[in-house]
Amino acid sequence: MTILKLAIRNLRGAGIRTWLNAVALSFAFVAIIFGQGMLQGMNKQVEDASTAFEFGGGQYWQNSYDPYDPLTLEDAHAPLPPVLDSLATAGKAAPILVVAGSMYPQGRLKPVLLKGISPVQKVIALPTAALGDTTEELPLLIGSRTAASTGLALGDQVTVQWRDADGAFDARDGRVVEIMHTSVGTVDIGQVWVPFATLQKLAGMEGEATIVTVAKGMRNTPVVEGWNFRTPGYLLSDLRQVVQAKSVGQTVMFSVLFLLAMLAIFDTQVLSVFRRRREIGMLVALGMTRARVIVLFTLEGALHSVLAVMLGTLYAGPLFIYLNRNGFTIPGMDTFGYALGDKLYPAYTAGLILGTTVLVFVVTTFVSWLPTRRIAKLNPTDALAGRGT
């Protein structure tokens, strides 16, 4: 306790030097929490939106289907197995038929994926009801990004072309009955949603599907021959890897920032040990063991981190709370390719804050201890005379 009191008194005595170190360290502390909070928020947002709009509780893929290989699309359709059909009838699954095609907005060719989905499905959050509430022969549901890139507006007519199951060209005029706003680009960009039964009929693929998305939270998904079940974890793994890759890049940046703050602490400690040789000699002469002197100096250094955490909490705490509640817009965020939405809401978890605090304290303590090892070799007589470092 005496050592703690002594350390606090010494820190106060160091005046502006203590505060400068604490401020520098607090910047690193705040930056780490801010950055990691952004990544965690981004991750959560992307996963929530992708689950709601696309993946649900997982997807059954027809054996030939590979979303990364458009060449597989031609053969990636098969009759809906009875077990999946009954899930769809019970409202626990949404079968989707995918057919490669082209759209001709204002006479310009645009390759698209035609996706047939039941207008009454509730498994994913797409506003498919609009496809059913119409008398149009070929109603089309598109996303706002596709609408912007093609210049299509609600009620516009556009020609859509595709090849049927036999390979023959077919084309019809469709009408845009709904433009949806979703942060999930993979259900928007280059995608045209049409009624499931209509696409099956037009493409000559009656009773067939490419993907079957099951409802979120569904457990005990049956094994279906000819169809591969992809879990939400599998479907989200790419997004997680992207966030992880970003996290690595960010860690490098924070390490540099942290290193600079630690350098300041290290310098202060080296200077302290050098300038306070007489004081060290006196403490040892008065009966304090070298180990206790080392603890005193290390504690002085480590207390910088406590000050930094207090300072950081003071100026960044309200900011974090505000951002967590209101989010913020990054220009061009829509073009990132992730399901981020209009705003990014950072997520500051207790684990993140506590973990960062412990990390800052441990590293600062270690860096503070390093220069104090010299004290162990110091001769008290020389120290009292201001010699021997």
Binding site: G107, P111, G167, A168
Partner: protein, 255 residues
């Protein structure tokens, strides 16, 4: 037989002969769709072809000309090398049956074009890779019916309506205007299953090569797209010349 009966008999006989004559004349003048199509294929089809041609692509803001030399054997094998512009020179395309490969010298890579990629435009033109690959005899894929006559390029034409014999033919129906003497299609419309017009072809001039009539200036247009389409101009053509087999190999793409 009375005199009156004899006169009536002769009158009926003359009328019958006249009607039969008319009928046989009409039959000679209006051949069946299949027979016209056979003659079109006969004129169009050669065992081998070596041609140098230009593709004039009318884009939204400018016009691009691409020159190429192609070697064709039957309906299954073809090899094309682009000669101009310098940016595309050396690009090659090989078709073997239903498969197509392209080679670009800048990347030194051979890519197989298949599936939905076949629907993509060739060098920004109105022709897709699929259109370029199409070289089957019309009679093998379509049944034909004569829909009438018309005049195109100042030439008398049969108008034929073609309907696919099997469901796996790319264009479910076509309408072609065939020169009644030369059996060269001078105009063609291709339709989707729904009956929507997809592609149009308009021949602008025809010339004779080794006894066959060949369209040497053709305008292709994707009917669903705006723009002026793509023109195909034939510089030279040699028919039924020997072509070594190595030309139609993937190894030839990198040579």
């Amino acid at each position: 037989m009375s005199r009156g009966t004899t006169v009536r008999f002769l009158a009926y006989l003359c009328l019958s002969v006249f009607i039969c004559g008319l009928f046989s004349f009409a039959t000679a003048e209006a051949p069946t769709g299949e027979s016209i199509l056979n003659k079109v294929d006969e004129n169009n089809y050669a065992d081998t072809r070596v041609a140098v041609s230009q593709m004039v692509i009318h884009l939204a803001r400018n016009t691009r000309t691409v020159k190429a030399k192609s070697w064709v054997k039957g309906s299954d094998k073809s090899f094309t090398e682009f000669l101009y512009p310098p940016r595309d020179a050396g690009t090659k395309m090989l078709k073997l049956g239903d498969e197509l490969w392209t080679y670009t010298p800048s990347t030194d890579r051979t890519i197989k074009i298949s599936g939905s990629m076949l629907r993509q435009s060739v060098m920004g033109s109105d022709l897709s890779y699929e259109d370029m690959m199409e070289d089957h005899k019309l009679i093998d894929e379509y049944s034909a019916a004569v829909a009438g006559t018309d005049t195109v390029l100042g030439r008398q034409c049969w108008v034929l309506e073609l309907t696919a014999k099997t469901p796996d033919v790319s264009y479910h129906s076509r309408k072609i205007w065939v020169d009644r003497e030369r059996y060269v299609p001078l105009r063609e419309n291709r339709f989707a299953k729904s009956g929507k017009l997809l592609k149009t072809t308009e021949v602008k001039s025809v010339s004779q090569h080794q006894g066959r009539w060949v369209a040497d200036h053709v305008s292709f247009k994707d009917a669903l797209k705006t723009g002026e389409g793509t023109e195909f101009v034939l510089d030279s053509i040699r028919l039924n010349v020997p072509i070594p087999d190595y030309i139609f190999s993937k190894a030839a793409l990198k040579k």
